[in-house]
Symmetry: C2
Subunit: 653 residues, 2 copies
């Protein structure tokens, strides 16, 4: 009864149509989009895949000279924002630049240790790359330099090939080679507009990987923090704990622990203050430098280095030497450097783009991912020739940069100048800086990478994502960064593949007193129409799922028939497939639908399609399947399809 | 005007709701599905992924003894269909079995050459595996034995490791090892119900790969066909042509060409007759055996072998010897055999399942893919211990089996017995069989694998699929089977990845005089609603596309705003995202929607969601995004969402 009322309303609201208003007053024809020729179709696909952001739009309809200027500005955005630069903006950038410089100098020295490189290389990498980025980058908030995770990853991968303690020169050369290819990878992805490839690392996997890497890095710091001399070269938690507890009786140095512990508490307290009140963001930002100065002074006057407190001892003075000749352009290390470079480059890219996007959306400006990649790639290529290792956007420093009120990438230039001054004049003063302080600074920095809240949110939203997150996390801490990364990538891909092989299907019912048909699981008061089974397929039908879709629909039918058997209901005569979510179909998909049609024919059930999209209807016609089932079996809406079935239902009953 | 009429109708047809009928008379609440607990959710996912065919259904509510019998029947379907077996069925199976036996014997001898094995191994592989399959397999039409493509693939891969002419014993051992692991791979996939993995090879890529393999195999036959002694070991078309034309003056043997040419014409003519009239299907089926008998007799009486006509010379008499001890279970060849076995096993599986499904859908019976894999795997594992190499379903012989009227897998048993008799008594008679005949038989057999019509259909339906098809095809003929296979797999994956990174989006318009909103490109007379932009996202929103989706929606908005500027139309105040096709969303997707919401807020545009599915609405609530935008901004249909916007539109105007 409810059903018949419903149909009346339907008829009224869906009355008349433009195409066949005489013959079928209630029926709209499903539109077949105008035929495109092959080249246009191909052009559209390429455009949507590679140029989805329409980068050439501003160039349209411009005179030649203007195009040239726009081109220059596109490659070097500094010429664009530089023209509107003024003193107010400079004030913001100056303060932000000085703040991040004070944060980056101690961090750089620590991070270069993670990469098994002498301390000055960290500083080198905070001079050239930020400068280049300031000219080419389009993010206003990112702070460029070495970062913890990339340093650790690079250090692990390089150490697998060359032992840094035995052959430091060869190791360094391989590091520059890897940096060079990291830059080439980044720039290439950007130039060929393949930036979307980094989207294949899922957010959940990254959260897990970063958390695991942070713990691994913190564990590595126990060496400096406890003053242990003999320490494992492995990074997994078991080997490290073995090293730590194995040396508890004769390897720990209490003076080191005292210094490290004191300053770590100080740093964490500073962090707490900064978190409590956003106005004091500068407290945690300058705390590391303050710790370095205080502890260095303390060691210098007490001569603690003679009591077993390890100190930095020597940092090379002067700015970056050239390293063009040190890159391996031939030999066996070319291939190895290439491979390491690709991995490090991709991870660095992922981090930088994530940071860039976060801050761009906070200040609501557009960030061109591909352009960013070219900028990051260029800075690493030039960096590899000026004794830098892989630099990228640092999350902690970028956040400080943002809070300190940076206005443009000029804050990177300010930071860069402070680093030059440091290299030229101040490095000898770091001689007495205890390693324990650097460890404490790194520990307090990487703690931020463990993002509990994100993990909890992932758990709440998607359990499978959470498994991915945990997998990457445990992979890193129990095995190594590479294994963790591999797990993260594999799980990400597995998720994509699962998504395309097992699309959802749903049985639809009519929502009372409407012409709307919805999933009966979601809307328990939606009612099935007797004698008709309405199935919605929730995905494009491709080779990877065509067979499943066909079999799943048949299984719905079998289930339904079994259920009806006892109920004295009319048997299922019509199967309506709601195709709204089916955005595309390929050859295998067409085959599957044909097989479905034939199976249904044998069971004496009619197949009816509702609302196929433009691409699907086009292909149904191309494959002549539309003729096979008859065009009059393809409807604009489920409601129309249902009303077309009803008359025969009545006869039958 | 048309718009207001429309709204009236809408209001009428969508009147009243159960939840909030007092406050919002026109609005239905979007259903939130009942909360499932974690274990159920996980169980459902696993069930849908691995047990989508519900294999345990017949076991439900059965007594224990019945369960046991059902279990035995599930593993050995012969005990199920055997009970209904009768003489009529046996008559069909006997005729079919004899026909395929006459076809398989000459083919087997030829195919074993493709695998670089002595001729009797082809016959061995047509004895044990079909017998095992008859007990365990569930297809009624498939004919088991060695097939051309797998033989070629195995031959190429094995030859890369061990040269068959220098170390035939080692080569054979590796072949058995590979066969063993091919079987293990197949059985494992079936047991763990991972059968869906073979769906990742797209139909188009298989068509291309098979066509390329057929041409490569045919080219290889030129050696035997032209009587060339020195022939390249490579399989690409350029090397082969070089070999062929390089030996034109002193390598070709006219007697061989004469015999080969005559019988090839005969075979092709027989094929033509069989194609012309389905009643004569047996003509091409027995033509090969007739050719072998005639040509052998001819060579025997003319002693053509003394004039340079190559003959088979020797086939070992007697049935399969054991080869258990010959499988490498340790050493370096273990790994190599394992790797080759996986590749050969997967390809063999793809072919067998495709054949099984084709005939199952023609006779309309269900085929359990995973059970099939266990059967195929078991037969290859046992085969590897009885001197067989990888066997699978042969398309040409299965088609003959089907047309000859086979009723059950018993036709494989008949064939198997004929092969034993051949091995025991007739093999010496093959001594004088000229190799040219075997080449002619293989050429006429593999021609069927070149499926022009499928290629044309692929071109019509999906251009990208066609590129995949061509890529695999040219990869095989210009490089090697492995490269072709690699290309086929890569292109298949690239297609999946492209599909998930760049989902379609569409602008919807109202179809005149209905409450229906559709893609305005497909339905040119659908009209946009002033002040409202309606975007439909045509895919689940995952990490791989979340960023693209967000940016694409914003670009639609920008485009629309630019277009409106000149038209004196009200500015866009509402953005409705139609989410019907969005079947799922993950953490990254929620992030992207949040960012979209914030960007729109800055532009003073309201975000409204229409018809999120059960999973999506669940996650919107879990992430508190539903609270952020307000539940009253989530509607059941686009029509309701539009009508909720209208009042403010009027105020504004």
């Amino acid at each position: 009864m409810g059903h018949s009322t419903n149909e009346e309303l339907e008829t009224r609201s869906l009355s008349s149509s433009r195409h066949q208003s005489q013959n079928f007053p209630h029926i709209h024809k499903v539109g077949v989009p105008p035929k495109q020729n092959l080249i246009n179709e191909f052009k559209d696909t390429v455009k949507e895949t590679l140029f989805s952001d329409d980068p050439l739009r501003p160039f349209k309809d411009q005179p030649r000279s203007r195009k040239f200027i726009l081109g220059i500005q596109a490659i070097f955005p500094i010429f664009e924002w530089g023209r509107r630069y003024n003193l107010t903006k400079f004030r913001g950038d100056l303060i932000a630049g000085l703040t991040i410089a004070s944060l980056c100098i101690p961090q750089d020295i620590g991070y270069s240790k993670l990469a098994n490189l002498p301390p000055q290389y960290g500083l080198y990498s905070s001079f050239v790359p930020p400068l280049i980025y300031a000219f080419m980058g389009s993010s206003r908030d990112i702070a460029i330099g070495p970062v913890a995770v990339v340093s650790l990853l690079l250090g692990t991968l390089l150490q697998n090939e060359i032992d840094a303690s035995k052959d430091p020169i060869g190791y360094r050369r391989l590091a520059f080679t890897a940096t060079f290819f990291a830059g080439v990878t980044q720039a290439t992805l950007g130039l060929f507009r393949l930036g979307f490839l980094i989207d294949f690392l899922s957010h959940a996997a990254i959260v897990g990987f970063m958390g695991g890497a942070a713990i691994t890095i913190a564990l590595q710091q126990l060496k400096g923090f406890l003053g242990i001399k003999k320490f494992t070269k492995k990074t997994d938690i078991i080997s490290v704990m073995h090293s730590v507890w194995g040396s508890v009786n004769h390897g720990w140095n209490w003076q080191t622990i005292l210094i490290g512990g004191t300053f770590l508490s100080f740093l964490l307290f500073a962090k707490y203050i900064g978190k409590k009140n956003k106005k004091f963001f500068w407290v945690p930002a300058i705390a590391p430098l303050v710790s370095v100065i205080l502890s260095t002074f303390f060691v210098y006057i007490t001569h603690a280095e003679k009591k077993g407190v390890e100190i930095v001892r020597h940092i090379e003075k002067g700015i970056n030497p050239s390293s063009v000749n040190q890159i391996y352009f031939s030999g066996e290390y070319l291939g190895k450097g290439f491979r390491i470079g690709i991995v490090a480059g991709m991870i660095a890219l992922t981090e930088a783009i994530a940071i860039g996007r976060t801050f761009a959306s906070m200040k609501d400006y557009q960030l061109d991912g591909n352009k960013e990649m070219v900028a990051l790639g260029s800075m690493n290529i030039i960096g590899s020739m000026t004794s830098c290792y892989v630099a990228t956007g640092s999350f902690s420093r970028s956040a400080v940069n943002y809070m300190a009120g940076c206005e443009t990438a000029a804050s990177n230039i300010v930071m860069s100048f402070v680093v030059i001054l440091t290299l030229e004049f101040i490095t000898p003063l770091f001689k007495y800086t205890p390693n324990a302080i650097l460890s404490a600074i790194i520990i307090s920095a990487v703690i931020n990478l463990i993002d509990f809240q994100a993990a909890i949110l992932i758990w709440k939203i998607d359990k499978f994502d959470f498994v991915a997150c945990l997998g990457a996390f445990f992979g890193v801490i129990f095995s190594s960064v590479e294994i963790g990364l591999l797990i993260a990538v594999s799980i990400s891909f597995a998720k994509i593949l699962l998504q395309v092989t097992r699309p959802r299907t749903a049985i639809l019912g009519n929502i009372p007193r409407t012409a709307v048909y919805r999933n009966i699981q979601q809307y328990p008061d939606a009612t099935k129409v007797p004698g008709i089974l309405i199935v919605r397929v929730d995905s494009a039908i491709y080779f990877s799922n065509s067979n499943y879709v066909k079999e799943r629909i048949l299984r719905w039918l079998t289930d339904e028939e079994e259920q009806i058997k006892g109920d004295y209901q009319p048997r299922i005569q019509f199967l309506i497939v709601e195709m709204s979510p089916v955005t595309n179909i390929d050859t295998s998909g067409i085959h599957a639908i044909e097989e479905l049609y034939r199976s249904l024919l044998k069971r004496d059930v009619q197949l009816i399609l509702a609302n196929p999209g433009p691409v699907v209807i086009d292909k149904l016609h191309a494959s002549t399947f539309a003729n096979l089932i008859g065009e009059e079996k393809i409807f604009l809406t489920v409601a129309e399809a249902v009303s077309s079935c009803s008359p025969k239902m009545v006869e039958e009953a």
